[in-house]
Symmetry: D2
Subunit: 456 residues, 4 copies
């Protein structure tokens, strides 16, 4: 018997390989699907079935890609929607996997047609359940994706799925959700990376609701929705473009890069300290590990993407961007930012300063504007900076005009990373007097400053 | 939070890394401990503590090795014995790991001082338990290691450990034992590689005992004990020789190999089909994946070991043998068996035949002797071959004289692999009329033969 | 400046990457061309040009594949033939590579339109020459490929190419041919893997010819020509099927394998000792490292190929077969030959014996037939076995009827590897009394036997 | 036959493995010698001999390390010095390697006892020569290491070695020196990574000398000598500390790092853009690929080394530092500079600006001081910046007092990398008004500025 959870970092997406008797099933594969094929070949197994738990919004499902390379059958949940490929799963449907059985359970709520898959032990006893976005460690799936007008209805469905389908499976049953901590699909998933039905019954705050009404009222909430969700929803029904293999990303000479720049977006994946010193004008700054969370907010699909990176091997970036459907990658700047500078090309820069220096600045500066780009949750949990204006990083494109252009703007986030995204957005829209506070709120919180400390 | 189970194949040994807040604990490390160090460095963590669940018999614990390379503290269970290094764990002792706590639970039975380690969630709720050899998926630890005269006493202790300590932790608690299916530490561990207290409560046949007496009577059983256990017990108390790093295994020229051969054991790790055609005289045949299970029975520590292999990279063999304390590895035959043959050196061979041919043989041969080297359990479960003489492979050295030398001997096991071990043992003790049945009992069972089928 | 020789083992094929100033040229790429792309991306370079030295017969050129993945231009030599893609190189044509220049030299002889490419140092001085199959270490390219009626003409051309074009470049110029020792493109390439014009002038026996006439008379010789050459010639002009990426080879269940077996060829890539003990009936035995040399002789393109292997990772086999245009690979037997045996499927076997045993056999056997499958060159160099019948392995399909079916046949080669190919060919054509001599002529030569020793 | 050049980047050091018939010789091994062992084991060979071409000054020779792990014999050149281990090579000494012979040639000049090793083809013809630091591509070994008073004498010896020993071997002989472009052992080694005696005879400017006198006068020159050379010279005679294996570098918590900081040197290996934004106070900045060239100038051996890095895997840094005898490595800052900032620890920063901005600065600033840290050779070749003060980076520690503290200092080098080393040195000695020009002279040279252009 073979079981492996494949973690796709950034999206905090969990997919699964379950194998037995030479055959394997993959649940919710990602698009760069070579990992499932290589692992199963190494185990002398064939992938015969691909099961989806729901129509995803946050990444491109790899079912069609994986099927085209292996011949495996695709089975869809959420078949109320018009899938262009694969087959419709029905409640109670079973698949044999050697001496074990996988069984479909309808567990709607996150989406109307969400399915869970229950793996039985050879004796027929429930062993593990793959519950998609119905139930996470410490959280439940969001119910606002059908629109806020249907959110109560969806929350009600989810209550029934949890309390009538999943929890009754038994405390001992191992729980394998589709996401871990850090995913946008759950507001506050816990770092409990392995869990069971019973652990969630005890520890998951949502499951503590005394009744359906209380569950609905605490669960219905509008969460943010990156613009790329629309693209994912559509492509996951139509089937994204088949890649065939992981495309190469080629180096571009300075000349090629400069020529293509006008018709492209430039994405700079270096860390914030590096970016601040020099960057290709008009670049969007998103550090490598932030791509999965932020590209979908700020990088549109309307033009090809050019990359400025620090790593020699751009494969990781390609994987991250393909998972979100950014297929039109033109290449990366050969020699990186150093090549740009060595040729004397004009580069941008963003002023940075330490929290200590900012303290001193506050004393002397007559006029300044503090921009805090953290989320509401972070403000509530960790405190606010007196006098700061709050615009969550994701809302900055819509509220940019609130930021003054004529006085110095000091940008705060938790650490400095998101501040640099914000600074790069403002910079390419004409703001000039920008400073990023390095260490962010964490650093701020660690020192004693002559100004009033954040409320808690 | 970081959690990883490290599986050492062959021994089916599970060790664990648990990390949080930049620090990590390793439970029951193996001797070739580079894997723990590399993984934790990659995660930007330091190993600060090494916890042992019990004094092991089946492999060399890597605590001292890992401590010498990292400075981590060693904590022993079974401190009734005279450890030469490390410190004694006490029931209830706690270790902080970031915002989580690990707690020692005394769970004797497999050994008198066995400890389990309970990992609490940051909220203080029991999350996972590392139970050593107390409880496995589908089995419990063996109780015969203190001698059969103390087996009932040990079984009683184990009952209390299970029913008063482990099961009360709650069905939802995840269970992390020290072994998986295939280990000699449990007779019938299930292939349920991930499990919970509740799954074991439901599915583990030993836990179904109605009371302590029934538990004792079904659990007390004398299992086989490879001779190398003695060596492991002693070295695990004294601390094995510190390696510092994984030693290289060098190729030996034909001349060097021949010269050293007289004072050494030759271990041939090729598959049985390959071995049968030609081997260095007096070699012991144990195929690579069988080393962990069989070297401890047939390979003594009294002389250095010379290897004949098929793989270019002998690292895997070195790891397997070092885990069992075979430190005196002289090298491998450069060019492998082909070098031997190309120089016209006399080689041994073992006759093999398919089950169909054996069927025909049975009809015509006047005199023959069938040797079945499978275990009693296999005979009971899968059936017997009419007319076969049964000597379990592990007992062959003691019962060799029962095998006739003057008539053809046909050797059976499940597949042909263990038969080849048996044949190599007999061959170097002077038996000549040996044949190994390829496909073994599995092949035999798949065809229709003119002789009476095995009883079931 | 970047320079790397890529060695494709088996074919002993040398291709080259030369890079400078962010751009790279590849000379004579192989079909599985990922290696050139990965290496150049790592060096921050783009492949801009692909240069061919001649129309190859012994492998599929990867120009079209590499161009389709990188956009590089393809330049052909031998443009007297009707290429379906790429452009025609002309004598004297130059390509700039940073501050260096590559220049085409027409060096016919091996083929009518063979080209060499001379790399100049930045100062303009000749530095290295990539001479294709014109000149090797210790040998020159074969001249019989246009037919023996044109061989003298071709040898004359080659003489002029060598003595008027290549040697005059200067003794100090480094020589980079398209093949090393072991290739079928030169009968006796030396193990001098790095060489210069001057070293060849001194050491290459062909260059010692006193005049054109002597060169022609020693060079014109008909060498063997595997049947797959025809396929390579055609495909190299048309452009082979574009792979896009290295295909996966999937495991096939015993049932799938058995079903497909009737319409397929079974190729068994295990070593000869392993094969001899048990194999799927009608398999062709070619050990892994012998594929490049022997598949083209014995494996036809008329049916798909099924594989029986010993390695877990079949990637190496896929590469070897794709280089020769065997694209129709159906998969490998899951579980290998053991799976076959465990299911009691009837298997073939070939009797093997050591040279010592064969000596004894010779004394007692009344009738036997010794088949020596070595080449004429080997017989001349190393000696013959008295009484042996000689059929070179490559001629066996045509001369099979010379081998008697009714008396025991003992097969010899240099080591035992080619003997097993021969045995597998004879076996599937109905021969039954076959024995392979392990260690072959090398083993035979190492011992003293009661029969007359080979003439020398 | 096996031949491989092992390139140690940074030092541009070439070592060699030559193997034949199961045995191998290593010439001038580096200290982290695992690469030789792994490669030879993979080729089924034993390393039997280690040959040194001379007593090195620029790195620790790995002979003793490699011998302790393999048992190979060590043979020294320069045996006029008092080696504490190994044996003395003599002119004309020969070693058999299968059917080939290696022969020692005394080729003094770089050092008094330098040896070259000539590899003969099996026919006895000279094939390759391993000439240590006697002759490079485009340069010859420096002759100033015995002191300038003996430089003429050494240059005379070198002339004889080149013109009477090496060149007479023949134009066709392949040349394998101990260094490539970028080494401190030759002032201007060419990028001709593979060469022959004849290519050097034609292209090497030093070999063009019309007679011994001219050779001496153009060759005698005092080159810079990093302070660590003394350490290397001593340790290479005594034998450096045996490592046994490549040590791990562990992460240090912020607390541990801070505690150790007082008694240690902090080396920050990030790129200059990253470093400039924030660094641990008093750090020395040397980017990763600059370590081999610059650590020996600025990092003393008197205290342990703490690291701040950007890479997850610090193995490459460990290798670079061990090659220069920096064995006392305490660990790296866990979480890197971000951890420092998130805890609000005070960090340093260096102002940076683009060349365009500096142009504008020049117009308006009343007082400023331009520091150019390039070498004399670079100034001569590429031009000077009008008004700049020149102190080569290596001389900065001695001439620091020439740099004014009270006016802004703008630092130039070729690119910005060495400028950041200079800035970090000045900063920790109390300078504050420092700016580094990004893109350096290369960038400067690419644009048109309102100030007078550098002389050429």
């Amino acid at each position: 018997m073979y079981f492996e959870r494949i973690v796709s970092e950034g999206l905090s997406h969990f997919s699964y390989i379950i194998g037995n008797g030479g055959e394997a099933v993959v649940i919710d594969p990602r698009r760069d699907c070579d990992i499932y094929i290589k692992k199963t070949i190494k185990e002398d197994m064939r992938i015969t079935h691909i099961l989806e738990t729901h129509r995803n919004e946050d990444y491109l499902i790899g079912s069609l890609e994986l099927s085209s390379q292996t011949g495996a059958e695709i089975w869809h949940a959420d078949t109320q929607w018009d899938y262009k490929y694969g087959q419709a799963v029905e409640e109670g449907q079973k698949w044999k996997l050697g001496n074990m059985v996988l069984e479909a359970l309808h567990t709607p709520g996150h989406t109307p047609g969400s399915m869970s898959y229950l793996l039985h032990d050879p004796s027929g006893t429930p062993w593990m359940v793959f519950c998609g976005d119905a139930l996470f460690a410490g959280d439940v799936g969001r119910v606002d994706l059908m629109g806020m007008d249907r959110a109560e209805e969806m929350a009600g469905m989810l209550y029934d799925s949890l309390f009538q389908k999943l929890l009754p499976l038994g405390d001992e049953v191992l729980l394998n959700p589709a996401h871990g901590m850090g995913s946008v699909c759950g507001a506050s998933i816990a770092p409990r990376m392995w869990t069971s039905i019973g652990l969630e019954r005890k520890l998951n705050p949502r499951i503590q609701a005394k009744n359906k009404q209380e569950f609905i009222s605490t669960t219905v909430k509008e969460l943010e929705r990156p613009p790329y969700f629309k693209q994912m929803e559509r492509l996951n029904l139509e089937g994204p473009h088949i890649l065939g293999f992981l495309p190469y990303l080629f180096p571009l000479s300075l000349q090629e890069f400069s020529d293509k720049k006008k018709q492209s977006h430039v994405l700079d994946t270096r860390m914030e300290l590096d970016f601040s010193s020099a960057f290709v004008p008009d670049s969007l700054s998103i550090w490598l590990d932030g791509i999965a969370s932020f590209a979908g907010w700020f990088l549109s699909y309307d033009r090809p993407v050019l990359l400025v990176t620090e790593a020699e091997d751009p494969t990781k970036i390609v994987r991250l961007l393909l998972r979100m459907g950014y297929d039109d990658l033109e290449g990366f700047l050969s020699g990186g930012i150093h090549s740009w500078l060595l040729h004397g090309k004009p580069a941008g820069s963003i002023h940075t300063l330490m929290v200590q220096d900012f303290c001193r600045e506050l004393d002397k500066k007559e006029q300044l504007w503090i921009l805090d780009v953290r989320s509401n949750e972070e403000l509530d949990q960790n405190g606010r900076i007196t006098g700061a204006h709050h615009i969550h990083i994701t809302q900055l494109p819509n509220q940019m005009s609130d930021v003054p252009k004529d006085i110095p703007v000091y940008i705060f986030c938790g650490s400095g990373l998101r501040s640099m995204i914000a600074a790069s957005l403002l910079k390419r829209n004409g703001w000039d007097q920008l400073s990023v506070i390095l260490g962010g709120f964490a650093g701020w919180n660690s020192i004693t400053c002559p100004i009033q400390k954040p409320d808690k």
